[in-house]
């Protein structure tokens, strides 16, 4: 479990003339759940896109599961859930899953991912008729289809009821226990405590990286929210 799943060094990304990621360096250990935290617009989504290999990168290197991010061989090994649900609204949940499962050649996984995200009752509902939370769970189900070694999830728990959110977090940990590596972005601070490691970002930089406990101890702050403020001010 001590092997490295992701190694990022000197990563710099420019989007529309704006420097979005400023020379990031960090590593993520395999089999862990890493929470990516930071205010809106700090570069979380851009970083996740870079890990998946769909983001044009100015400079720096990203090694994912031992190879360059975006390598063709990673397309089966990395599951990606975008922030806005990227599923077809005019198809049912089942039809969406069957399509992406055929692309991945993993039709055997459909039933399992449906139950993982708790969408069995909606298998025959059109995605556009679902609520926002259900739609994002449909999108998550697609990301889980390939039983990926690395799961990159952009705000997967937005708009979910607390019970479901807790279930999803325990699913994430079960997946990590089974050997997958997860990188999950969120801006909900109370979700941060559910992560093994945290990556705090602000204005395109990594503010801090460590376990939730370490970050609180280092800043002598009782909550992560306050730790975040302390880390921001100390720079």
């Amino acid at each position: 479990m001590s092997s490295t799943a992701i190694a990022v060094s000197a990563l710099r990304v420019v989007r529309r003339g704006r420097l979005v990621l400023r020379d990031l360096d960090f590593e993520v250990a395999a089999g862990t759940v890493t929470g990516l935290l930071g205010p809106s617009g700090c570069g979380k989504t851009t970083l996740l896109r870079a890990l998946v290999g769909v983001q044009q990168v100015e400079q720096g290197s990203i090694r994912v599961l031992g190879v360059e991010a975006g390598s063709p061989e990673l397309r089966r090994r990395v599951g990606y859930m975008t922030q806005t649900p990227s599923v077809y609204g005019d198809l049912t949940v089942g039809e969406n899953l069957r399509y992406f499962a055929r692309v991945l050649d993993r039709r055997d996984r459909i039933t399992e991912v449906l139950s993982l995200v708790g969408l069995e009752p909606h298998e025959h509902s059109l995605v556009r008729d679902l609520s926002g939370g259900e739609r994002s769970r449909a999108s998550l189900a697609v990301a889980l289809l390939g039983a990926p070694d690395l799961l990159v999830l952009d705000e997967p728990t937005v708009g979910l009821d607390p019970l479901l959110r807790r279930e999803l977090w325990s699913t994430f940990h079960r997946l990590a226990d089974a050997g997958s590596t997860l990188v999950v972005s969120t801006h909900v601070m109370d979700e941060a405590d559910r992560c093994d490691r945290l990556l705090l970002m602000r204005e395109g930089r990594v503010l801090a990286h460590g376990t939730p406990h370490e970050l609180r101890t280092r800043t002598a702050a009782p909550t992560l929210e306050e730790a975040f403020v302390a880390l921001t001010e100390s720079r």
Partner: protein, 244 residues
């Protein structure tokens, strides 16, 4: 490129279309209705109607598949599904071929229906083979898919995408000789017509209609197929694994 992924994509596109009953109804009804309208507008000018009827049967699929493809691709781009697909083991040509297969089937059905109305009810006569009309219409539909796919990359909104039809296709259809035969246009316009693909598609259909086929028909078909290949290649370059 794998057959499994291409066929899965074609099936997915057809499933989406099947859900949209009104679009299906429009695809089926609009070309025969327009042709019938034209038949009675040109009631006193029967030869004029005969001259354009068969070419129009074969040009409808091009226009409609162009519009549907550009909107569908724009939706894939804006909804994030394209970004997801580009992160999956799917070749760019799987996506393009999937759309092409699905829309070619729709175009074939559409043309059979339009042909049945034109040849059966409106009395349009074809000297050449009517199966060739359907084949040319399907080729035109593929041309529409290929052009729509390529041009959708230059549209950032649906408003822009729909306007590529009057901007890109309509001038070519007018130059094809819809109102005035090609050889009665000014020299410059004839040169323009000779350097654009749609007049060749139109000419091929007109030749099958009148039965004067010959070597020129092969040239016409060659230009249409060549343009499809070029547009597909250009379209594939607009599908990026990595975006800014």
């Amino acid at each position: 490129m794998t057959a499994r992924v291409t066929l899965a994509t074609a099936q997915r596109v057809l499933e989406q279309l099947r859900r949209d009953r009104r679009t299906l109804a429009l695809i089926a009804v609009v070309p025969p209705a327009l042709l019938t309208l034209l038949r009675y507008i040109l009631d006193a000018e029967r030869p004029a109607f005969e001259r354009v009827a068969v070419p129009l049967v074969g040009m409808f699929p091009l226009i409609i598949m162009f519009l549907i493809t550009s909107i569908a691709m724009l939706r894939e781009r804006t909804s994030g599904t394209l970004e997801r697909l580009m992160s999956l083991p799917l070749a760019k040509l799987d996506l393009i071929a999937g759309y092409a297969v699905a829309f070619a089937l729709v175009a074939a059905a559409q043309t059979c229906l339009t042909s049945a109305v034109a040849f059966g009810l409106l009395g349009v006569s074809v000297q050449g083979s009517s199966a060739l009309v359907v084949a040319l219409a399907v080729a035109n539909a593929l041309l529409g898919v290929a052009l729509g796919l390529f041009l959708s990359a230059f549209a950032t909104s649906e408003f822009q995408a729909v306007q590529f039809m009057p901007a890109v296709l309509l001038p070519q259809i007018l130059l094809s000789g819809l109102f005035v035969p090609h050889d009665r246009m000014p020299h410059v316009l004839r040169i323009a017509a000779d350097s654009l693909p749609l007049p060749y598609a139109f000419d091929a259909l007109a030749r099958v209609a009148t039965g004067v086929e010959g070597g020129r028909l092969q040239l016409d078909a060659g230009v249409v197929l060549g343009t499809i290949v070029v547009a597909v290649a250009l379209g594939a370059t607009t599908l990026r694994r990595r975006t800014p």
